[in-house]
Structures are given as structure tokens and as C-alpha cells.
Symmetry: C2
């Protein structure tokens, strides 16, 4: 196999109380990437979308991730990568993670899956470093593992897949810019111990609720007393979206990543669609353009597409 196509999904990181530790993969949207194994060492990036992302491999998220992977390979090989992004950069749903994760999962498929998922996460974090200056795995981990992931520790990296019951996710991406650097600077460096205790009680409740399939407990645990009160002021419509979504039956939700996207979890698809309608209504009312997405949690992560084999008909 010399070429492969992968679908790299969007992801939600900073899941409410689980700031910096909990993330999950979405069914939609996703980027489409085609990788070709070449005998020319290095990486060639070909952008097939309108985002004008850098093509110099060191400065491209997928390129930097692939260069990290190639440093662990002894053969003189390289990759040519065509990238058609559907996940808009800066949306807060893991656009850069999809590029980085898709690239290394595709490359690994071309190398007979010689690397573990944990190794692929490590390589992909070099892509995140290009995007944000930090080798964080909050989005990379769920993008590669699929489902819900807990990053127990970053140093050393310790990724724990968390089993979860069926959940529907509604995401709204208002077309405004929230810089990750602003979203980070606005946070207080010190937090009250009593708030931290409430937060880790909720993290424990959320993990237990997911693993027990206890939707009511999941809903009660989707509370963030530390980050959301500070960051949500950067997102017009946040409070109204949250209130209206919960009135429509959502279990709960919050800011996706560092925003501006907002996600809500629901037990049923019909609820998730109603949540989508109230989100649309809020941003129509505010006169802000937006996209919405409804999907289940994506248990697979990056999908490697089956190769269409050439059929040789004997003559």
C-alpha cells in the first residue's frame, strides 16, 4: 500500500469540569487527507482547501507531526500529503489536532502500523506546537483513540480511554475570533481551594457517570466553577445558548476547547436536534454567522479508508 486516505474528526477538549484533561471525538465535521509514501525523504504538503495554511513542512501542523514521526524511522522515506480541511482553524474544535492526528495515523497505516497509539500522540503533539506553541494532547488524544479520553498526566503523558454510553453532541461555531492566547491569559493563575475541590468532585462524578452510563449523573457533573465563568465572557450568546439548550433537554455542556465553539451533550438524537434549533435561534437573534453540527461521540477516531484495489481481469 503506497497511498491512503484518512478522515480526521473534530474534537472537543476542556470538557466543562475536565479542563486540560478530558476530551472526546466528534462524528462531524472532519478533514480528509490523502498520504502517499515516497522515496524522497521529507514531507510535501499540498493544501486542497481555502485556508491558505503554510506548506513549508516545519511550519505546517501535519508537516511538523510527520517530521517527528520520520525522525523515528530509519528508512530513507517521505510523505506527500494532500489536505482538504473542513474544520475551520480557530473554531475551538481541534482543527490543528485533526491535521496532526490524521497525518500520523495515515503515515502509520502506510508503515504497517509499526507505532502504538501513544507514540502517534507524541508525534502529533509536534503539530500542535506549530499551531499554539504548546505540545498539548487534549485534542490529539481523542482524535487518535476515539471516544472519550482522560489525560491523567502530561508529564509523563498518560492517556486513559473512558468508556461512555451513547451520547449526542450538538456544536455551534459562531463565526467570531477567540485567540487561544487571550483565552489562556484571561485565566487566573491561582484558584480558591474550595472551587478546586468542587471541580474535582465534578470530574470524579463525570468519569463515574460516563462509565456507569448514568445520564443524570453526567448532567449533574457538567459544571465548571473555574474556567467557564471567566472564559465565557469572550463568547457572545454563551449564557443564552447554555440556558436554552438545557431547557431543550440537553444534559449540559460548555465551551469547546478555548472557544468560540460551544457544545452540548444529549441522551437522545431528537434532543440534540432541538438543541441545534435553539442554538441557531440565539445566533440568528444576535446577527452572528455560525455553523452547527450534530453527531454522536466518534468511537473510532481518525478513520483509515479502505483502499480501492485495482482489479486485474485476466484476459
Amino acid at each position: 500500500m503506497n497511498s491512503v486516505t484518512v478522515l480526521a474528526p473534530a474534537t472537543v477538549a476542556n470538557v466543562v469540569c475536565g479542563f486540560d484533561v478530558l476530551g472526546f471525538a466528534l462524528g462531524a465535521p472532519y478533514d480528509t487527507m490523502t498520504l502517499r509514501l515516497t522515496s524522497q525523504p521529507g514531507v510535501v504538503i499540498i493544501n486542497k482547501d481555502d485556508y491558505n495554511l503554510p506548506t513549508e513542512p516545519r511550519r505546517n501542523v501535519a508537516g511538523a507531526a510527520l517530521l517527528a514521526l520520520l525522525r523515528a524511522v530509519s528508512e530513507p522515506i517521505g510523505f506527500e500529503v494532500e489536505i482538504a480541511k473542513a474544520i475551520k482553524p480557530g473554531s475551538g474544535i481541534g482543527s490543528s489536532a485533526a491535521s496532526a492526528a490524521g497525518a500520523v495515523v495515515g503515515a502509520n497505516a502506510l508503515l504497517d502500523n509499526r507505532f502504538t497509539q501513544a507514540e502517534l500522540v507524541e508525534f502529533a503533539t509536534y503539530g500542535e506546537e506549530v499551531a499554539s506553541g504548546v505540545r498539548h494532547a487534549d485534542n490529539i488524544a481523542p482524535c487518535i483513540y476515539g471516544g472519550v479520553t482522560l489525560i491523567r498526566s502530561t508529564e509523563p503523558l498518560d492517556i486513559i480511554p473512558i468508556p461512555a454510553p451513547p451520547l449526542y453532541v450538538t456544536v455551534v461555531h459562531p463565526q467570531i475570533e477567540v485567540k487561544t492566547s487571550d483565552a489562556r491569559e484571561i485565566l487566573k493563575k491561582q484558584v480558591p481551594l474550595k472551587d478546586a475541590i468542587r471541580q474535582w468532585g465534578n470530574v470524579g462524578g463525570l468519569i463515574a457517570g460516563l462509565m456507569k452510563g448514568d445520564y443524570a449523573l453526567i448532567g449533574r457533573s457538567l459544571e465548571d466553577v473555574i474556567i467557564e465563568p471567566v472564559r465565557s465572557i469572550l463568547i457572545p450568546g454563551f449564557a443564552e445558548v447554555k440556558r436554552a439548550s438545557q431547557e431543550a433537554g440537553a444534559l449540559g455542556g460548555g465551551i469547546s476547547g478555548s472557544g468560540p465553539s460551544i457544545f452540548m451533550l444529549s441522551q437522545h438524537e431528537t434532543t440534540a436536534r432541538q438543541v441545534e434549533a435553539v442554538m441557531q435561534s440565539v445566533y440568528h437573534g444576535l446577527g452572528i454567522d455560525f455553523h452547527t453540527y450534530v453527531s454522536t461521540i466518534n468511537l473510532e477516531g481518525v478513520r483509515v479508508m479502505p483502499v480501492e484495489t485495482e482489479i486485474n481481469i485476466p484476459t
Copy 2:
């Protein structure tokens, strides 16, 4: 049934990273209490041990808990309670919680179990208020529910039983005094956000490890970067006990409650016994008297003893 005997176990609260939210019940030691239903409204306390605890019901932990329960009862009834404590007050393994929980579970048995476990926890917290001034449920919850419990929220009270694999607990109680008030005052009111994140990553990991039965993950998650570094200085021998216990094969552990007891978790009983030996060695070396206990996690909580029924042989 007019009288009942209950065994009320010791408990470990503040389970390492799970400060103020995670606790579990021990197999030993436990208090023995006998309750009699009387037609005299109010509570009579009879102490059968050498701790000289107050007998005035309002000032006695079991008494205050029973008075809270009686406020929810419409009949003109009362209880006479004999208490033989084996759990030394001030040990950090839930001595007051055992008195309060044992009392209300016993009373409930005499009232045909009309109250839920959650209601019993509420009543019992009035006993904790007598002991420490705070109606906390950290020890009450595991004492009544058994096993491992998460207190996701105190306001409103939300207790989540956490399934756990077989675990052995070794406890050492050095005979020194650590006042709960001192242990609380020494804590910083503000904590660095990065430490809080590490802590809630560990809480998530510990819950996931317990529910998956993943002993290695349990061990990695038994890390406390906020409370233990501050409080452990109040307990002579703490660092040495912890280091030697882990060298002996313990998964990990820390301060029980607010100390001075220290607990360690092990996967196997043989390891738990070796851990007991190293604990004994440390405190022998320091010339500090101590008690040690080895048990499994107690899945039952307060045990209501079967009543010996009188056999009437027809003549």
C-alpha cells in the same frame, strides 16, 4: 425487634488526590453499638469504653445524630444506646463518623428501615457537627454505603458509590495528636491552577482505575500535589512510611482524613502485611507508639447483626 447491635467501621476520607470527595470503609477497626427502642422520647447514651465521651445527647456524636433522626419521626419514641468504641477519637480514621453512622443505621433497623441511605447520611452529619463543627459527610458516606464513595457535591449532597476491585488496606495510627483544626488551618486557601489541574486529572484517573479494576492506573493516580505536601509535615515518619511502603509493593496511599493515621493500598494481602511490617519498623525506629490494621475495603459499611430470636418450644 426492640434492640439491635451494629458494627460501625473505621473509614478513610481524603483519599490522596480525592481531598474532601473520596472515602472508603475499612474492615477493621470497628465500634460495637447496641440500640434499644424505648417509649421514652429522647436519647440515652451509655458509654462502654474508656474514652470519657460526653453522655449528654446533644453533645454526644451518636446522640446528636439520633436526635436529628428523631426529628423526622412522628411517634413518641426514643433510643437507649450502648457504645463500645474501638476506634480511638482523633485517629483520623473516622471515629466520630462510626458513632454517628452506627447510631442512625441501628435506629433505622429498629424502625423497619424507613429512611434511605441518603437520609441517614444527612442525620449522621449532625453527629459530625458535634465532633468538628462541620456537617461533613466524607467519612459518614462510606461508613453507611460501604465500599468507596465519591461526594460529588456537598450542596446539595450527592453521594456516588464507586465500584472497586479487591484492595487491601494497611493503616498505621501513630499515637500522636494532630488537631483537625490545625490540619485545616495549615492549608492554603488559594492553589495554583496547574496543580489543581494535575489533581483533577488524578481524581479522574483514580475513579477510572477503580471502575476498570486497573491496579497500575490506581497506583499512578494516587498522587496528591496540593494537600499532602502541606499536611504531611505534621506527621513524623510520613515520608519514610510512604517510601518504604511503596518499596514493599503498595500501590500508594497517604494521610487518612486529616491524620495522623496513614493508609496504604495493596493489590495482595501478602503485600499489605509486608507494608504493615515496614510501618511498624518506621515507628519502632522513631520510638512512637502506634497501632496497625490490615483489612480489605469493607463493601458493607455499618453491619446490622442478626438478632438471636427466642425459640418458643411448644409444650
